[in-house]
Structures are given as structure tokens and as C-alpha cells.
């Protein structure tokens, strides 16, 4: 097929009035053109690779950019080659002649090139056709003459196509993802639960429970999580909150929490996750608990991915603690500063 088509190209060149070819040129193969960009109207590079079929003294190589593979060469709209450069070459010794738009050629003092020689020429600053998704063609011909027209030796056509660039767009908004519950399996879409049952309080046993919360933000100044609420209360009776970080003491009425993995009692977990958020100092010592409404319990000082915090609660009572159902509602507030 290549040789048949080649013959037709030769005929076409003759018809357009260029130098008649004394003999039919052979086919350059394999051949391709690797463009730097396929975008319409883009100025880019054309790396032309072609292997010769015929041993000859080559003085020039022509590159016609055409709208059709055969027949008269009509340069596709938008193509500009008058600023074309020769950025790389093999074999060497060539220089660019770009005076005729759509038909640059490279020239040198004719020198032998063997059959089967893999040639490679990178032409710079060629403007693609202005139409997207357009097939067009580069006709490549080697010549014995130095004028890009005389003494055709090998020829070959390569089909190319512009392609519509794809523009991807998305928005990252201001982000604060925060959730609270009693269990979480992954991110905040999996959080659930809202109640903690401490069971029956006893002056001889520490009662405990946990809740979880997760936070992440792209706020430049990070976030702070505060805890608000009242200590456990039953009517007018309360279990005193630990105003300072204090260990769990059986037989003493106390209610407190922290965000660590504790040993006494065995309770809770340290923060997890890829983020940089962490517990605050007042709630960050294992086995020491505290509760003061409005305290900051955790914070991230900068944009941070998700961290999961486990809030561990402990309850002790003295033997005189009034009977009753004691409840407390803890509300965590995450404030991001953008």
C-alpha cells in the first residue's frame, strides 16, 4: 500500500507544478510524527521519524503539512511554519528553510544516507491547525537536491490529528468536617450513637464510658474543639467535676474526662488519623481527668486532615452520694478559623 500511495503522491506533486520527478520515490517506513501538543492552534514541536528506503546522497528533506494525504497540498487553516526551527536532527548538518508556510524543508550539502537509516528531525515552533479534532497530514520527502524540491528519493505521508484539550475543573470549598458520636468506623459518614450508659455507680468501682469525635479542616488557622455542659446531676444533686487534672479515686465523687489511652482505669484511646490535630494539655495526660465547661479539649493549629479523638469519661462516687439517675449532656463545638 505504501508504494502505491507513494506513486500517487508523486503524481500529485507533478500536477501542482513542482519539480517533476524522474523516477518514482520509494516509501519511508516506518515513519511517524510525534507532536508536542495536539491542541488546536498550539505552537509546538514536531518530531519527525522516518526510515529511508533508498541509499542516496541527501541534500534536503521536505515537510509539507497538508489537509489531504494526496493531491495538491492545501495547508490547513491555522498552520504556521514560517517560524519553524530545527531543534534536533539525525543525520546532521541540516539547517531550516521556513520561508514557505506549510512547506518547510531542511537543507545541507548533500551527503550519503544509507538505506534503512532511521532519521529523526525535531521541528520546533510549528503552529497546529486551528480546528480541534482535525485529521491532517505531513508529507515527508527526501531529496538529492538542496532546495527541498529536486530529486525526490524517498517519500511518506503521516496522518496526524489535533485533539480538543479537556479542561477539568473542580472546587475545593472551605472545609470543616466535624462529627461526634459513640462509634465511628471510618470518616464522619460512619459515625453514630449519642448516649453513654455508665450503669450503676458504686463507691467501690470506677464507672467509665467513651464517645468519639472526628475533625478536619482546611482553615488556615486550624480548629479548636471545646466541650460544654454540666457535670452529672440528678435534680439538685451533682457529682463534682474535676476542676484540675486528677487521677481516678474510688470512693470519692468525681466526674472527668480526657482524650488519651488510659491505664487506670483501662479506658480510651489516643488520637488517630492522618491529621495534625491533637488533644489540649488539660485533657492530654493519661489517667488524669478533668471537666470544665468551655474548655478546649483538642485543636489543630493549621489545615489538617482527619483526626479521631476518643473522649474517655470516668465517674466515681462516695458512699454518701445521693441516689438518683444522674445525667449530663456534653456538647462539643469545633470552631475553624479561616
Amino acid at each position: 500500500m505504501g508504494k502505491l500511495r507513494t506513486g500517487l503522491i508523486v503524481a500529485g506533486v507533478w500536477v501542482t507544478g513542482l519539480m517533476p520527478l524522474a523516477t518514482e520515490a520509494a516509501g519511508l517506513a516506518p515513519r511517524n510524527v510525534v507532536v508536542g501538543s495536539s491542541g488546536q492552534g498550539v505552537s509546538t514541536s514536531y518530531a519527525v521519524n522516518a526510515t529511508t528506503a533508498t541509499a542516496a546522497s541527501i541534500g534536503s528533506v521536505g515537510f509539507q503539512i497538508c489537509g489531504a494525504p494526496t493531491g495538491a497540498c492545501v495547508t490547513p487553516a491555522g498552520v504556521v511554519t514560517t517560524s519553524a526551527t530545527l531543534a534536533a536532527q539525525s543525520p546532521g548538518g541540516f539547517s531550516m528553510v521556513n520561508g514557505s508556510n506549510g512547506a518547510p524543508y531542511i537543507t545541507r550539502t548533500a551527503a550519503p544516507v544509507g538505506a534503512g537509516t532511521a532519521m529523526s528531525f525535531t521541528l520546533g515552533s510549528i503552529t497546529n491547525p486551528s480546528t480541534a479534532n482535525l485529521s491532517y497530514f505531513v508529507r515527508i520527502t527526501t531529496y538529492t537536491g538542496t532546495d527541498g524540491a529536486t530529486g525526490a528519493v524517498d517519500t511518506g505521508t503521516v496522518a496526524l490529528s489535533t485533539a480538543q484539550p479537556v479542561q477539568l475543573t473542580g472546587v475545593t470549598p472551605e472545609i470543616l468536617v466535624f462529627c461526634v458520636g459513640t462509634s465511628i468506623a471510618g470518616n464522619c459518614t460512619t459515625v453514630s450513637g449519642s448516649t453513654i450508659d455508665f450503669g450503676d455507680f458504686s463507691p467501690t468501682v470506677t464507672r467509665s464510658g467513651t464517645s468519639v469525635m472526628q475533625a478536619q479542616t482546611n482553615a488556615a488557622n486550624g480548629y479548636a474543639i471545646t466541650v460544654t455542659g454540666t457535670t452529672l446531676a440528678s435534680g439538685v444533686n451533682t457529682i463534682p467535676a474535676l476542676a484540675t487534672q486528677t487521677g481516678s479515686v474510688i470512693g470519692t465523687s468525681q466526674f472527668g474526662l480526657n482524650l488519651r489511652a488510659n491505664g487506670t482505669p483501662a479506658l480510651g484511646a489516643d488520637p488517630s488519623g492522618a491529621g495534625s490535630g491533637t488533644f489540649s494539655g488539660a485533657y492530654g495526660t493519661p489517667d488524669l481527668y478533668r471537666f470544665a465547661s468551655g474548655d478546649v479539649v483538642a485543636a489543630g493549629l493549621a489545615p489538617t486532615n482527619a483526626n479521631t479523638f476518643t473522649s474517655s469519661y470516668i465517674v466515681n462516687i462516695g458512699g454518701a452520694q445521693a441516689a438518683g439517675v444522674y445525667t449530663a449532656t456534653m456538647t462539643y463545638i469545633c470552631t475553624a478559623s479561616f
Binding site: 511517524n32 496522518a159 490529528s161 475543573t169 475545593t172
Partner: protein, 353 residues
């Protein structure tokens, strides 16, 4: 191309007392003028039971037995001189007894065998016949039967006689050129390169708890002997100096997945592939009559990557059209800086002829 099938259209006159061969025809393997090596499949039916020792075939300018079998007119150049017997359906032991090549007195061939009483239809295949030289010329095949082996008794035209009209014919040469072809297009909707349009893919509002997706399309076909490769060019999603990390090992056409090729919420990721994915549910597999496929790390469902210059699809030879769906996935961590993120992706299809 035309293969001539020429069948006699009329019965020839029989001037003498010979019986008439009926159901005569001759099918040629080509009707081209001057064609050599032509097979003639000749059919006829004897007029009745007869002692049959030989059969003579002549190619002549005229079917009329009283007219000399000249080979100077339209049948000029025809020759049975090198013809061979392919087969004979009636009787046994047939062979070429004598034959003459092209001449002014026509050309002939005699089939002979030990005389036997025969009746009915016969089908003879003569191979390596040369047609008359000129095209679109009518000529005639004369057939006569004899009791002896030398085609002499009874005298010409023998026991039975018949002729078949034939014609050489001009050969119609249909030709066209299939040039180098590469049809390639990129867009966001459509079914093939006649209607694929669009350029914008809106990936929506990113979230650390959900994966955002989008798709574009590309279609390619080529007659390049070495096929084509489609490469992907561009940068990852960017907003000012902020970027969303590209997925997969960041080296050209790597099959590696460091840190990850799987979509995961809460982690900054941008990747693409050309498959039908379930996690997330986006994209379709390649379609069309072509043989191209996705390439490397872009050809596994639920596995995504992005690296500038990578090959995303290819084929090693000529191929009809395929349509690829490019699926894009985006995840962000909670710390991803707010902003409008964009990426311009350019696909380049390089065919090697």
C-alpha cells in the same frame, strides 16, 4: 473485476445430416481477451445412443459448420494447442488425442478413447486454453462427435454437432486509494468522531468524605501498520500554588501504586483510567470494532493514575474505531486548600506508518 461467464445463446445451424448436440454451453474461468490458462467447462448432450470414439472441439470465427473454421477474425489468437483435459463426465479413458494451436484455420483439440456406446449429457473441462486476443469479441466453440478415435468417421461434422457462442470481455478495473489515515478526537459527549464534542469536565465541589468523578471521551482509528499510541499530557489539578496529588507511582508509564492507585476519601488524589469502575462507579470499558485497549496502569478497573506523558491507550496494528471513556477521580483531605482547581489535559495520538 469481471469474470466472464459466457453461455451460448442460440443453436447453431446444422447443415449436414449429423445429429444435434443439445444443452450446449461453455463456462470460462475468465473472459479476458488474450487470457491464458483459462479453464473451459463445456457441457452438451448427445442426440441419442451412439458409438462414441472421439470428440472434437474447435474455436472458430463462425458457428456454421459449412464455413471454414477460420482463426483470423474475432477468434484470432485463441488456442487449444496447449490445452489439457481436466475431466470428462461421460464414458471412461478419455485423453487428448490431437490438438492444434492458434492458426488461420482456427484451433482444435480432439479427445479420444476406446469407442463405446454412450448416451446422455457430458461435461468436459479443458484447462490451459488461450482466449482470443481481442476483448469484447464474439467467437464460437464447435463440438463434434465421432465413432472413431481420430475424429474422422463419419466425416465432419461427425455423428453429432453443435456450437456455442462465446465472447471475450473487457476487464473492468476498479481502483481507489486508501491514504494514510488517523482519525482521532477528544470531547465530553458523543459516540464517534463525527459527533464527539465538548471540552469541559466539571468535577464539582470536592469533599474529604466523598469522591468526585468526571469523564471525557476519545475515539481513534488508523490504518498505520504499527498502530497508534495515545499519550496524556498536562498537570494535576491545581489552584494557584496548591495542587491535588497525582495517583500512582510518579514515573513514566509506571505500573506502581505508591502511595496509592485506589480511590480513598479524605486523601488528596487525582487520577484517571479508561475502564468501567465500581469504586467509584464511573466510566465504561472501551467500545467499538477496533482492537485498541487501555494501556498499563490505566487499564485496570478501580485503579487510577496520572503522570504527564504516559501512554493511556494503544494498539499495535491497524484498527477500526474504538471509543475510550477517560474517567477522572478526585479526593481531597480535609486540609486541602480552598480554591478552584483546574487541569488541562491534552491527549496526543501518534500513529506509526
Amino acid at each position: 473485476m469481471v469474470v466472464g461467464l459466457v453461455v451460448c445463446a442460440g443453436l447453431s445451424p446444422v447443415a449436414q445430416a449429423a445429429g444435434q448436440l443439445t444443452s450446449r454451453n461453455a463456462v470460462v474461468s475468465t473472459s479476458a481477451g488474450g487470457a491464458t490458462g483459462v479453464a473451459y467447462t463445456i457441457g452438451f448432450t448427445l442426440s441419442g445412443s451412439q458409438s462414441l470414439g472421439s470428440i472434437k472441439f474447435e474455436i472458430c470465427d463462425s458457428p456454421v459448420l459449412t464455413t471454414a473454421c477460420a482463426g483470423t477474425g474475432d477468434s484470432s489468437g485463441a488456442s487449444l494447442g496447449a490445452a489439457t483435459l481436466g475431466s470428462m463426465s461421460l464414458g471412461l479413458g478419455w485423453s487428448v488425442g490431437s490438438q492444434t494451436g492458434a492458426s488461420a484455420s482456427g484451433t482444435n483439440l480432439v479427445l479420444t478413447h476406446s469407442a463405446a456406446t454412450l448416451n446422455g449429457a457430458a461435461s468436459v473441462v479443458l484447462n490451459n486454453v488461450t482466449n482470443p486476443s481481442a476483448s469484447n469479441k464474439e467467437y464460437f466453440l464447435r463440438i463434434s462427435t465421432y465413432t472413431d478415435a481420430a475424429a474422422a468417421a463419419p466425416a465432419y461434422p461427425g455423428t453429432d454437432f453443435g456450437a456455442v457462442a462465446m465472447d471475450t470481455a473487457n476487464q473492468i478495473v476498479a481502483s481507489g486509494v486508501m491514504p494514510e489515515s488517523l482519525v482521532f478526537c477528544v470531547g465530553t459527549s458523543g459516540t464517534d468522531c463525527t459527533n464527539i464534542t465538548g471540552s469541559a469536565v466539571n468535577l464539582g465541589v470536592f469533599s474529604p468524605t466523598a469522591t468526585n468523578t468526571g469523564t471525557s471521551l476519545m475515539s481513534a482509528s488508523t490504518n498505520a501498520g504499527f498502530g497508534y499510541a495515545i499519550t496524556l499530557h498536562g498537570t494535576t489539578l491545581t489552584s494557584g500554588s496548591n495542587t491535588i496529588a497525582a495517583m500512582g507511582t510518579q514515573s513514566g508509564n509506571s505500573g506502581g501504586c505508591t502511595p496509592s492507585c485506589s480511590a480513598a476519601t479524605g486523601v488528596a488524589q487525582f487520577g484517571t483510567n479508561v475502564r468501567d469502575n465500581a469504586t467509584p462507579n464511573v466510566g465504561t470499558d472501551v467500545s467499538g470494532l477496533g482492537t485498541a485497549t487501555g494501556f498499563g496502569g490505566y487499564n485496570t478497573p478501580d485503579s487510577f493514575r496520572f503522570f504527564n506523558g504516559d501512554t493511556v491507550a494503544s494498539v499495535a496494528g491497524v484498527t477500526k474505531s474504538n471509543v475510550f471513556t477517560n474517567s477522572y477521580v478526585v479526593n481531597v483531605g480535609g486540609d486541602q486548600a480552598a480554591g478552584v482547581y483546574t487541569a488541562t489535559l491534552t491527549y496526543i495520538c501518534t500513529a506509526t506508518f
